[in-house]
């Protein structure tokens, strides 16, 4: 299972990528493999406040709807519009084209509470 080394991870299988003030959120390769065929993504609204550990988005496979929890708190600055046409990007490119939303962190210290790639690898193996 692919676990990129430049990201941080939530126990609930989301990842974040930090680029300056912008934090990108998606779900892991392990999560997409567990969910299988993703057919619908309901992202948060741009401008919405999201809270660490609270539901920020919903991802639906044929069989079930799954909540996606925001790894850290902040304000949503952008959502991946591409997913409304092509939700399967979460399956095919979970760490790239399958990103779900971007935010600016309101409590950057929360980042340190997230799992390192090593710790997340240990959790899923």
């Amino acid at each position: 299972m692919n676990v990129p080394t430049d990201l941080r991870y939530a126990k609930t299988h989301e990842w974040i990528r930090i680029e300056g003030d912008s934090v990108t959120v998606g779900i892991t390769d392990h999560a997409q493999a567990e969910l299988t065929d993703i057919v619908y993504v309901e992202p948060p609204k741009v401008g919405a406040a999201v809270t660490a550990g609270a539901t920020a988005a919903v991802v639906e496979s044929v069989k079930a709807a799954s909540d996606i929890y925001s790894p850290i708190s902040g304000t949503v600055t952008e959502v991946n519009e591409e997913l409304s046409e092509n939700p399967a990007l979460l399956n095919t490119d979970p760490f790239g084209g399958g990103w779900i939303y971007k935010l600016t962190a309101s409590a950057p210290a929360e980042i340190e509470t997230l799992l390192t790639p090593e710790a997340y690898t240990a959790q899923i193996s």
Partner: protein, 373 residues
């Protein structure tokens, strides 16, 4: 998931797990929801062939001089119409007309009937049947549910595959049942040309000890294992009801749109359990009907228990729903007031607080390409 040890297990469980099954609890059974993925399995059944372990379903034989009369009393469809080797879809109701189970009954001999009942209500069905047996021993009921392994082979390539595995078998016509192979054993090997997918296909019934070999032979013939997830999307695309979701003790077959399987006006069948309630309901007029709905915009997959609204008020809820893998649209079934059931009626379905426009449509939701012309 509830405690696995308390669940019932199919004789094919080891073979299924070897095929990569992801297991879930279903109706008290430990069952595979999917193998390679619901979309892929669904597509395999629509375009080639897939197989479902249906060993969790129950098999019951009814024999004896009184079998026919007793079954006519118990079931809604006209059993006496069945020639030997033929089967029919039928329902078993309570006195109020509520659905206990929907099932298929085959006549396999002069006075021999073979019933295939749903997994989740096997015990309840048998209890109901036994409670209604005559005391004169003119009817013998035998539960073979734990003696059979059963596999549904479904898809356009099914006949070709069945012929390759059983060259001697006399392949039955649609809704027929025949001997799969003559073994002379106590548990006859049977094949029925039925299914729950809308595709051509067969349901194969073999003694438990032979189940795994059959599964592996089908696998070697290129048949794709498919789980409950694909079984649900396939049946829903055809508008076939699922007992426990679309059918229940609180709904009658008339409300469920299954009137053609209910012999209410047949002079040869003046009575069956539930018939009086159904006649009364028909005389008073139906209040609600199970109808198919389709989202008219791109939206989330529909699922059971989503509110259905008309003019801002909740008028019902979905009892089954899916994003149809074949047509790519949100589809659902719901019981709605009769005034709102005309084809084309505009409604809304609420998903996580948002309203999506929908309209009343017709089943099947999915029509085979050849049927479109």
């Amino acid at each position: 998931m509830s405690d696995i040890a308390s669940l019932k297990h199919s004789p094919l469980e080891a073979a299924r797990i070897a095929a990569g099954a992801r297991m879930v609890e279903f109706g008290g059974w430990f069952m595979p929801v999917q193998y390679s993925g619901i979309m892929e399995e669904h597509r395999a059944v629509r375009t080639a062939a897939g197989m479902f372990d249906i060993s969790h379903m129950g098999e019951v034989t009814v024999t004896g001089a009184g079998a026919l009369a007793w079954l006519e009393n118990l079931l809604t469809n006209r059993v006496s119409k069945l020639a030997v080797g033929r089967g029919q879809y039928t329902l078993m109701l309570d006195e109020k007309g509520g659905v206990i189970d929907d099932l298929i009954i085959y006549r396999t001999g002069e006075s021999v009937y073979f019933l295939v009942i749903n997994a989740a209500c096997r015990d309840l069905d048998l209890e109901w049947m036994r409670a209604h047996l005559p005391n004169d021993e003119s009817v013998t009921l035998t539960d073979l549910g734990n003696d059979y392994a059963a596999i549904a082979l479904q898809g356009p390539d099914s006949e070709k595959i069945l012929r390759s595995l059983y060259p001697e078998c006399e392949i039955p016509k649609r809704n027929g049942m025949a001997s799969l192979s003559e073994t002379g054993g106590a548990i006859p090997e049977l094949v029925a040309r039925t299914g729950y997918t809308g595709e051509d296909g067969f349901e194969l019934f073999v003694p438990v000890a032979k189940g795994e070999t059959l599964w592996n032979n089908l696998l070697a013939a290129g048949v794709k294992p498919a789980g409950l997830g694909a079984r649900d999307t396939l049946r829903l695309e055809m508008g076939y009801p699922l007992n426990g979701s679309d059918l229940s003790r609180s709904r009658t077959p008339l409300e469920a749109g299954l009137g053609k399987f209910v012999a209410l006006d047949d002079p040869e069948k003046p009575y069956f359990i539930g018939s009086e309630a159904l006649r009364a309901q028909r005389a008073e007029g139906l209040l609600s009907l199970l109808i198919p709905l389709k989202l008219t915009v791109k939206g989330p997959p529909l699922r059971a228990h989503y509110p259905v609204l008309s003019g801002g008020s909740i008028v019902g809820e979905t009892c089954s729903g899916a994003l149809s893998p074949s047509i790519g649209e949100g589809i659902a079934m719901a019981y709605l007031p009769v005034a709102l059931t005309e084809v084309g009626t505009t409604l809304e379905i609420e998903v996580r607080g948002r309203l999506y426009p929908a309209s009343v449509t017709t089943v099947p939701f999915y029509k085979k390409p050849s049927q479109n012309s």
